[in-house]
């Protein structure tokens, strides 16, 4: 009834053992990965800014995060007097848990070549290198990212102080706005893949030209990347904790282990989002054919998928750090304009265009007519939107609003 895994059909000891192993591996690797990610980010940013970065704790400063974590553990834990005690204590966990849960639906490896569905043998049982493979895996990603808003929002509110509240109001507006663009660009992937399960999406990206970044025409990927950065509240969309304006944003009043949880959640979310992007657009554990080689890492045997995933995720982690080092923060009205006036209409238009192509293929319409019609409709829509924007800008100016 509740089976989400091929394993769970019978609840034998070995099946339960495999699930426990998977959970433990994901949790431990996640925590260690987050620790390394903090180090990676500090080190890369330091190099980009001509500094050395952390280099005292451990070789090349690798243990710096561990040292910071231990330090945070022993700091005094404050709960503000004016705050709401229960919600204040609850909020860090609400931020932390969704970041980890997303990993349960991401395929972490396995062999997807030649139409195989990525099952491997562990302890003599066939299973997927994925904690759970629900038929609505992609929607689970969206659900978790929408739940993640609560942590930040409630943290700011329950602090009972004005800067955190401003930060959390910004956060909730931003995350709700960009979720629409995120969902719409994800819908194009679902349209092309024809399934909502994450392992199905990976399995459908068999060759480079069928990777969804190519198959959906690059634009959804760009929109997804920008919207995901906004969802993560990472620079250039880090208005939530803009330290020049809001002290520290939503987490100003937090200290000790609760602050550490927010910090951990933020970096964990970065890794998670990179994993999601790789799964949706870059074939997850699928190998990238180079020259005549189908899979240059095939000597690694069954682990090659996992290594491919790791390499791809690393590229995106680097890109996120790169964003942070290069791009200046957006102003609040720029953020909202980008989200509502550009990203949502663009992703919606692109989705409709792809859907029209699909219908055209089924109905036998000429591809060029569909393209011409699509461009005409998108052009008409965007010019109407432009006009509406101009009118509202003029009205605002007349009423003397700030922006």
């Amino acid at each position: 009834m509740l089976a989400l895994d091929v394993l769970l059909d019978d609840l034998s000891f070995r099946a339960i053992l495999i699930i426990i192993i998977k959970v433990l591996v994901i949790f431990v690797v996640g925590l260690v990965g987050t620790m390394l990610m903090v180090w990676f980010e500090r080190k890369v940013i330091a190099f980009m800014q001509n500094r050395i970065g952390p280099d005292k704790a451990g070789p090349k400063g690798l243990l710096q995060t561990l040292a910071d974590g231990i330090k945070l553990f022993f700091k005094e834990d404050l709960v503000p007097d004016k705050g709401d005690r229960f919600v204040f204590k609850l909020a860090p966990y609400l931020a932390f848990v969704p970041a980890f849960l997303v990993w349960s639906v991401i395929p972490l490896g396995g062999d997807f070549s030649n139409g195989k569905d990525g099952t491997v043998q562990i302890l003599g049982r066939a299973t997927k290198l994925q904690l759970a493979d629900p038929p609505v895996g992609v929607l689970m990603l969206l659900a978790l990212s929408s739940v993640a808003v609560y942590g930040i929002m409630l943290a700011g509110w329950s602090s009972g102080s004005k800067y955190p509240l401003l930060g959390s109001v910004r956060a909730s507006a931003q995350m709700v706005s960009y979720e629409a663009a995120l969902g719409l660009s994800l819908a194009t992937v679902v349209l092309i893949a024809g399934t909502l399960s994450t392992s199905g999406i990976v399995a459908s990206q068999t060759s480079f030209s069928r990777w969804h970044v190519v198959a959906t025409g690059v634009l959804p990927f760009i929109i997804f990347l920008v919207a995901a950065t906004a969802e993560l509240n990472r620079p250039p969309f880090d208005l939530v904790e803009a330290e020049q304006e809001l002290v520290g944003g939503f987490n100003t009043e937090y200290s000790s282990i609760r602050f550490a949880l927010f910090f951990l959640a933020e970096f964990m979310n970065t890794i998670t989002m990179s994993g999601v992007i790789v799964t949706l657009f870059f074939g997850g554990p699928q190998p990238l054919p180079i020259g005549n080689y189908e899979n240059v890492l095939s000597f690694l045997g069954p682990l090659s998928g996992t290594v491919w995933l790791l390499l791809k995720v690393l590229v995106f982690l680097y890109i996120y750090v790169w964003f942070r080092a290069t791009l200046p923060r957006l102003r609040y009205d720029q953020l909202m304009n980008l989200g509502w006036r550009i990203m949502i209409p663009l992703s919606l238009g692109w989705f409709m265009l792809l859907a029209a192509f699909r219908i055209g293929k089924d109905e036998g319409w000429s591809r060029w007519y569909v393209l011409a019609g699509g461009i005409a409709v998108i052009g008409l829509g965007s010019s109407l939107l432009q006009r509406a924007g101009k009118v509202s800008a003029r009205n605002r100016e007349r009423e003397g609003a700030m922006f």
Binding site: M1, L2, D84, V87, P134, P135, V136, L139, M140, L142, A143, S145, S146, V147, V149, Y150, M153, L154, W157, L165, S168, V169, S172, A173, V176, E179, G183, T195, L196, S197, N395, R398, E399
Partner: protein
């Protein structure tokens, strides 16, 4: 296993619902509502309605309650309500009457359903046809039902939503100088 899931989820739903009514703090009431929605979502999963469960969390917990909280925070109404004040005099008796009516209706439905042996709900043809297919049948069933049998109602609902949004913008808009509303 199924009974266990049901008991836990039902406890979540009922606890949350009681919390929505009894908590005097609006933010706590909204959080109780989230608990209820999650419980309902778990019940959906237990009934193998995976799609509905995910949509329940995305739309209700992820968007609607977030907006509730947003409004509560933005308008600064996060104060403890005084239950002695009754804004409209007829409100409480009317609420009691509607509540009693709903309760009797639901109990009648349960009694009727228990006495009848055959399932009282028969899936429509489209749903049955989709269920016979194996893969992703959840989504297919809902899509066929919504976009074939009930397409008119579906489109009318979306028109209604658009009207509501436009009307809200019109009501919230300040009249221009020299313009009377």
């Amino acid at each position: 296993m199924e009974l266990f899931v049901f008991v836990v989820a039902a406890a979540m739903v009922l606890g949350g619902a009681v919390g929505v009514v009894l908590r005097s703090h609006p933010v706590h009431a909204a959080l109780s509502l989230v608990l209820t929605l999650f419980g309902v979502s778990v019940l959906f999963v237990a009934q193998e309605a995976n799609f509905l469960a995910a949509v329940q969390v995305i739309v209700y917990a992820g968007a609607i309650v977030v907006l509730f909280l947003f409004v509560i925070m933005l308008l600064g109404v996060d104060k403890v309500e005084d239950l002695q004040i009754e804004p409209f005099k007829i409100q409480r008796p009317a609420a009691v009457a509607v509540g009693a009516g709903l309760l009797s209706l639901i109990s009648m439905a349960i009694i009727v359903a228990r006495d009848a042996n055959a399932p009282t709900v028969t899936p429509s043809d489209a749903v049955q046809a989709a269920l016979d297919g194996s893969h992703d049948n959840n989504i297919r069933a809902i899509a066929r039902d919504v976009f074939s049998d009930h397409v008119l109602a579906f489109e009318l609902t979306s028109v209604l939503l658009v009207i509501a949004v436009v009307a809200t913008v019109m009501l919230a808009r300040k009249p221009r100088k020299g313009e009377t509303t």
